[in-house]
Amino acid sequence: MCDEHKVGGLWEDHERLKKYEKLFAEAFPGQTALDILHRTPPHAKR
């Protein structure tokens, strides 16, 4: 696993937390966690 893709120990790794905050802020500007989760996903064809 490369350094850019660490897994585990996130809450003690402030740099990685900041990186994720930036990632979500850039992807979903101005949106909250509930806004992101509550978008209606497309339904699979039956």
Binding site: K6, G8, R16, E21, A25, F28, T32, A33, L37
Partner: protein, 147 residues
């Protein structure tokens, strides 16, 4: 002494990295799960809801979706959560809970059902769930700052 157990809505996990008025409460609650003070449960419905919210965004390039999905996996693994998978006939409480509050989305109802099956509180920041008097008759719902 037995540890308290909680079922965790996806908004708590995402709330740890998406700063808003709930972030402090979400991080404090999640850190107590990670530090083995509480036992935390999610289900495939929780991971599915989070993954779908990234996978089905139309205007994001694949590499950006990959980074966001990796962040979610990191949060799940870091937090040391238990994955609850309902067994045969567990979901027979669906109709009872759907009748209790028909405003709740299907994905949120699945979290409520899992908490009901496990007989543990659901932790969420979703005010529609937290304010539902009818749901409270079936499942305890708690804001993370109140745990």
């Amino acid at each position: 002494m037995p540890k308290d157990k909680y079922f965790i809505d996806g908004c708590i996990l995402l709330g740890t990295v998406i700063p808003d008025k709930h972030t402090r409460a979400c991080r404090s609650f999640i850190s107590r799960i990670q530090n083995d003070i509480f036992i935390g449960y999610i289900s495939p419905f929780v991971t599915g809801e989070m993954f779908n919210s990234i996978l089905y965004v139309d205007d994001k390039p694949p590499h950006q979706k990959y980074e966001l999905l990796h962040a979610i996996v990191d949060i799940i693994i870091t937090t040391k959560l238990n994955n609850f998978v309902p067994l045969n006939n567990d979901m027979n409480v669906y109709s009872e809970l759907r009748k209790a509050d028909n405003r709740i989305s299907e994905s949120d109802l699945m979290h409520i059902i899992c908490a009901k099956i496990l007989d543990i509180p659901l932790v969420t920041t979703d005010t529609m769930i937290l304010d539902s008097r009818e749901l409270k008759k079936h499942v305890e719902t708690i804001y993370p700052g109140d745990v």
